[in-house]
């Protein structure tokens, strides 16, 4: 699944059957090369949903046990939040110091959250090559 497809998808509580929010963005931990949380919009409480609190990542909705799963950013995640750590639109640098392009989209596994590939103008870069995500660039291992 791609970030572009999943953004805006509704988040539904299995307890109350109510929509408790929408996906606003993705929190990626470059060291684990995986999505570790979702940034949520239109919620009552906080704006972070940990990947481990997702019950199902479906084609039409993401399900959680109840609205309480969406909280303020817990420690460990807070350092990965914000535009600095977003991948979309950022320049891609290889570890040899050469610019490859810009991140157009990201493919991830909806089961595990593992980043499978970065999509850019010239194709795809395997997620396993991801090294770091900072304010200036997404750094990938030289392929």
């Amino acid at each position: 699944m791609r970030f572009s497809e999943a953004t805006g998808r509704k988040i539904v509580s299995t307890t109350s059957a109510e929509t408790v929010g929408k996906i606003g963005g993705f929190v990626v931990d470059p060291q684990r090369r995986a999505v570790v949380a979702l940034e949520c919009k239109k919620t009552d409480s906080g704006d972070i949903l940990l990947w481990s609190d997702i019950v199902g990542f479906g084609a039409d909705a993401i399900t959680v046990n109840d609205a309480g799963a969406i909280t303020e950013a817990p420690a460990g995640i807070d350092t990965l939040l914000g535009k600095v750590h977003h991948l979309l639109g950022k320049r891609i640098l290889s570890s040899t110091g050469d610019e490859l392009g810009k991140v157009d989209d990201v493919e991830f596994d909806p089961e595990s959250g593992v980043v499978e590939a970065l999509i850019y103008a010239e194709g795809r870069i395997a997620g396993a090559r991801l090294i770091g995500v900072g304010s200036y660039a997404v750094v990938v291992a030289h392929g």
């Binding site: 110091g97 050469d98 750094v139």
Partner: protein
């Protein structure tokens, strides 16, 4: 894998950590080993949170030099500009500022004025960064006066503030662009070693 670059292109090139942060940019190239190698760089700050301005980067802590960025592992690779200059002095000095010098052959022919320094980056990581040639604004002796040509350097050379001494054969190994220059440098050095 090695690649050739003009040192003038390095000015303002961002220094980026593997974590994707641009922590500085190159201000000046500091030569070492009497001008035969790049010892490191003095740095300028970047952006709003540019940090102290007298920082430097030793070549030995550079992870990779690319065409768009200088890669380092993290900010601990940065030191003071002083330490880079000291290391250069300890290795035989920077060789002085060669830009603007007149390139003379040992037979006394003026080849032209030095306008840029060509380096060969070996690596990534652990490789040397050697000065292998100069770009000169050619005199009539080399070709059309005023055109820019690349001229290879021997392993060792004599340079003063005014002149750069080259073996006479250097002018037979000039290139018009970087693409063929690596081969020309090799051919030139082979030629010199056979002559000894």
């Amino acid at each position: 894998m090695s690649r050739l670059m003009r040192t003038s292109e390095l000015h303002k090139r961002p220094v980026v950590t593997m974590g994707g942060e641009d922590v500085a940019q190159i201000k000046d190239v500091v030569f070492a080993a009497g001008g035969g190698a790049v010892g490191g760089f003095t740095l300028a700050g970047r952006g709003l949170f540019s940090g102290p301005s007298d920082r430097g980067l030793l070549w030995s802590t550079v992870a990779a030099m690319g065409s768009d960025a200088v890669m380092i592992d993290d900010e601990s690779a940065l030191g003071s500009s002083e330490s880079v200059l000291d290391a250069s002095a300890g290795s035989g000095g920077s060789g002085g500022d060669v830009i603007g010098s007149q390139a003379l052959t040992d037979s006394g022919v003026d080849l032209g004025k030095v306008i840029d320094v060509i380096i060969e980056v070996q690596g990534p990581r652990g490789g040397q960064c050697n000065v292998i040639g100069y770009e000169i604004e050619a005199s009539e002796a080399v070709g059309t006066k005023g055109t820019r040509v690349l001229i290879p350097l021997p392993d060792t050379l004599a340079v003063s503030g005014d002149h750069l001494m080259l073996p006479a054969a250097a002018k037979d190994f000039v290139s018009q662009d970087l693409a063929g220059f690596g081969a020309a440098v090799e051919a030139f050095r082979d030629h010199l070693s056979q002559g000894r």
